[in-house]
């Protein structure tokens, strides 16, 4: 897959917020983190990629192909999306939710063939949810729900996986599990793009970072070159922090001076 390119993209929420991106390239086969303070436009960018929002102007392309006008079905073959949370009114099981990820590959009637069943089973096993496949999704804990949603996205087997705050409100065990799943997906050649407030997670697993502020991209590129003290200060408008090398991983880590 070629990299994803956004050019002259403008999107507005009423008069209050405008996302304005002149040019942005997101590399394929890498983990990219979108970071920035609340209201910077991170989730909006993710939803533009997912096709949930359509840009007012500008183009989103992969190679020479403009994907902005693709149908929902074709787009679902390119991008899978893991929302921050999902509420289910009815008692769909974890298996049923995971199998929904096969919609772009299957038929409208949703009859699963052997390949679909295999993909859904493998996704559940990867996410440690195979033993909970008959549980109702709505009865799961927050962490289990996030894993089930990740399983659905993995079963979808799209080229790009988009995740909105996949580790928020999770204990460290579940966080590590989610990050392990994302790394495994990257190692299989998938492109992973996630929004997170967790700068240490970005240092730990991101190959690439997009730093946003006020609806604009203020820096983008390799993690260590983007997440500098100066850029973080500029993006978050906050300076009571420091960066240090993590002796265990050799990667950088942020700490608060409060």
């Amino acid at each position: 897959m070629d990299s994803i390119k956004l050019s002259s993209v403008i999107f507005r929420y009423g008069a209050e917020f405008t996302l304005d991106i002149d040019f942005l390239e997101i590399p394929a086969g890498r983990i990219t983190v979108i970071a920035g303070r609340n209201g910077a436009g991170k989730t909006t960018l993710l939803k533009l990629l997912a096709g949930i929002y359509t840009p007012f102007q500008g183009g989103i392309s992969i190679g020479a192909k403009d994907i902005k006008t693709e149908s929902a079905l074709k787009r679902a073959g390119i991008f899978s999306y893991v929302p921050q949370s999902e509420e289910q009114e009815f008692g769909y099981t974890v298996w049923e939710i995971t199998a929904m990820g096969r919609r772009p590959h299957g038929n409208a009637l949703g009859i699963l063939d052997e390949r679909d069943v295999k993909a859904a089973k493998e996704a559940l096993e990867l996410c440690d949810m195979a033993d909970k496949k008959n549980r109702e999704f709505k009865s799961l804990s927050g962490g289990e729900k996030r894993l089930a949603l990740a399983a659905r996205a993995i079963a979808q087997d799209s080229l790009v996986m988009l995740l909105d705050e996949p580790s928020a409100f999770l204990d460290i065990g579940h966080q590590a599990k989610i990050f392990g799943i994302l790394k495994a997906s990257r190692d299989k050649g998938k492109t992973v793009i996630m929004v997170t407030h967790d700068i240490n997670a970005a240092f730990d697993i991101a190959d690439n970072v997009i730093l946003m502020s006020g609806g604009k991209v203020i820096a983008s590129g390799n993690t260590d070159t983007v997440l500098t003290e100066e850029n973080i200060r500029g993006a978050y408008g906050f300076d009571k922090f420091g960066l240090a090398d993590n002796p265990e991983t050799g990667k950088k880590s942020i700490f608060l001076k409060i």
């Binding site: 929902a72 929302p83 509420e87 769909y92 099981t93 939710i97 919609r103 949703g110 009859i111």
Partner: protein, 322 residues
């Protein structure tokens, strides 16, 4: 899939048995063997033949059809709005039909189905039209507009009834639901509509399952959410409008049946829709049999029975759910 077909066959069998039993009950005492021979074509022109083929049988078939329509419509709308408290009448459909029927009754029309159906569909298109903003329909706005339109139209029915007091009894009786005015021409059209609607509803049932994740997420799973909303809203509206214009406002079936059936089948609409069709049919058949036989030689409006049974059942199910 196999499980679904098996359950459907069992339920169809149960429905046929109960329809046969219902045929034996009524103010005139006709033995089971006589009914079997009448159904075989014997006794043409006799009073018993007229009672069975001209009164009981069409009424039973209409109860089955209307019950199935309301069951399907309720299941579709509850899934579409992701809310198990939605009932087919919540979107202003029944009030539109009631207004159309009231105008028909007051104008002295004998054929009330046409104005009732027209009123229901006008209400539906008004609600849907008002709920569209920038090419998209917001489900909460649709629901709210539906409830408000229903209130407004109900007030108009009351206004019309108040200023035309000589027709008020007819209007009220129509509103309470009545299956007695059934004939085979109506039944034929209604049956074709029911089968076509169930087939169409089944075709996108899996996409409607996926809509349970919310419109945004469903679109990222490959579902055309805007098309699906329009498709199922219109489908459920046509079914409800047809049911109401054929039989008046028969409440609770569209709310209680999907709610109860889901506890047995699970929420998968590929199984839930046919199960709700059969269960809705069975429920209305039983209620109508009770309505026409409980206080012989008199009759109760069937809407009274469905409410009296449906409401307690719903309360019990809701308590168990907690």
């Amino acid at each position: 899939m196999k499980k679904g077909i098996l359950i459907s066959l069992i339920m169809a069998g149960v429905l046929v048995i109960f329809a046969g039993v219902a045929l034996c009950f009524g103010s005139a005492k006709i033995s089971f063997m006589d009914i079997v021979s009448i159904l075989g074509g014997a006794g043409y022109g006799t009073p018993d033949y007229m009672i069975i083929t001209g009164l009981r049988l069409p009424r039973i078939i209409l109860a089955v059809i209307v019950g199935a329509m309301l069951g399907i419509s309720g299941a579709v709308l509850q899934s579409l709005f992701r809310n198990s408290l939605v009932d087919p009448f919540i979107t202003g459909i029944s009030s539109g039909a009631a207004l159309g029927a009231s105008i028909g009754i007051i104008s002295g029309l004998t054929f009330i189905i046409a104005p009732a159906f027209a009123g229901a569909m006008l209400a539906v298109f008004f609600v849907y039209g008002v709920s569209i903003k920038e090419g998209r329909v917001n489900s909460s706005r649709l629901l709210l507009t539906g409830v408000m339109t229903g209130t407004m139209l109900s007030s108009l029915v009351m206004l019309l009834s108040a200023v035309n007091s000589r027709d008020i009894v007819k209007v009220i009786y129509w509103l309470m639901g009545d299956l007695s005015a059934s004939d085979y021409t109506q039944i034929k059209f209604a049956a074709i509509l029911l089968i076509a609607a169930l087939g169409a509803a089944m075709f996108y049932a899996n996409d409607l399952n996926i809509m349970s994740s919310g419109e945004e997420t469903a679109s990222t799973l490959g579902v055309n959410a805007e098309f699906l909303k329009l498709f199922y809203f219109i489908l459920a509206s046509i079914l409800t409008a047809a049911a109401v214009s054929l039989s008046g406002v028969i409440g609770f079936i569209g709310l209680v049946v999907p709610h109860a059936v889901r506890k047995f089948t699970g929420p998968d609409l590929r199984l839930l829709l046919p199960a709700c069709a059969f269960s809705g049919a069975l429920f209305l058949l039983l209620c109508d049999t009770a309505a026409r036989t409980a206080f012989l030689p008199g009759e109760l409006p069937v809407g009274v029975i469905t409410g009296l049974i449906g409401a307690p059942v719903f309360i019990i199910l809701a308590r168990r759910g907690k």
